[in-house]
């Protein structure tokens, strides 16, 4: 239920594993953590939504914010998600056309040209 956040590094990529409910109550903590990572120099960020039980518009807004910030900084941002209910949320909001969405962390890291070239 509660938000969980764990960071690890895969080559040039910073992978943020998110678990629990990302909603109007917990999204500020996700935003804070993403800002810390980006301010700390992370340029290629992968957010793994594999253990997310609930994601609402506030959580999606935070993810778009991180995408924009990294784009401005010349970095990259991708999401890992393989659960159909979550994918449906991205489709319905047309955010599947905004985010690179991958079924696994490996696919996300491999698909990122910047990361692959590094």
């Amino acid at each position: 239920m509660e938000l969980s956040l764990a960071t690890r590094t895969v080559g040039e990529h910073t992978v943020l594993e998110v678990g629990g409910e990302v909603d109007v109550y917990t999204a500020p903590r996700l935003r804070e953590r993403l800002l810390e990572l980006i301010d700390g120099g992370a340029r290629h960020v992968v957010v793994d939504l594999g253990r997310v039980d609930f994601l609402d518009s506030t959580g999606l807004g935070v993810l778009v914010g991180a995408l924009k910030r990294l784009r401005t900084a010349g970095g990259s941002f991708a999401l890992v998600c393989d659960k159909e209910p979550l994918l449906k949320i991205f489709r319905i909001t047309a955010l599947d056309q905004v985010f690179p969405l991958h079924p696994t962390v490996d696919a996300a890291v491999g698909a990122d040209p910047t990361g692959a070239n590094a």
């Binding site: 609402d56 518009s57 506030t58 999606l60 909001t93 955010l95 905004v98």
Partner: protein
């Protein structure tokens, strides 16, 4: 027809309470299990929107969620914000979603409305009958 009403101070944490209650009452009313994720999301979005409006306008008034089962499961989420703010939400096209000029608030609002409209077949957003405010009305079928 049984009615359950929940009203709460406009704080994010209570949106969770509203989701919990909305789904529990839906289940008891006989809404199909495979619709409950939508019910959870839609009630959450409607309440998130109401809480955001109350905060934006500095309103301490409670947000109201009314659930009733009379042949179907009907949920009303009522805010007390000035009407111009409430009505006229539109879903954003993809090329605008990641546009730099779009504020985070506007994006979240647009995405929230897209989720409501996308998940709830029977959705109405309209001014409340009495006083100031907007009501989001959602209906789901009950039974198999």
């Amino acid at each position: 027809m049984a009615t359950v009403r929940l009203s709460f101070s406009p704080a994010p944490v209570h949106v969770r309470t509203a989701r919990l209650v909305g789904v529990a009452v839906a289940r008891r009313a006989g809404v199909r299990e495979d619709l409950l994720d939508e019910v959870r999301l839609a009630i959450g979005e409607a309440c998130t929107r109401a809480v955001a409006l109350h905060r934006q306008y500095g309103l301490a008034d409670p947000v109201l969620v009314e659930m009733s089962d009379g042949g179907s499961y009907a949920v009303r989420v009522v805010d007390r914000a000035p009407i111009e703010a409430g009505i006229g939400l539109t879903a954003l096209p993809p090329d605008e979603l990641a546009n730099e000029s779009l504020t985070d608030e506007a994006l979240t609002t647009g995405v929230g409305f897209a989720l409501l409209a996308g998940f709830v077949e029977d959705l109405q957003v309209r001014p409340v009958d009495e006083g100031i405010g907007t009501e989001v009305r959602m209906v789901w079928p009950v039974g198999r």
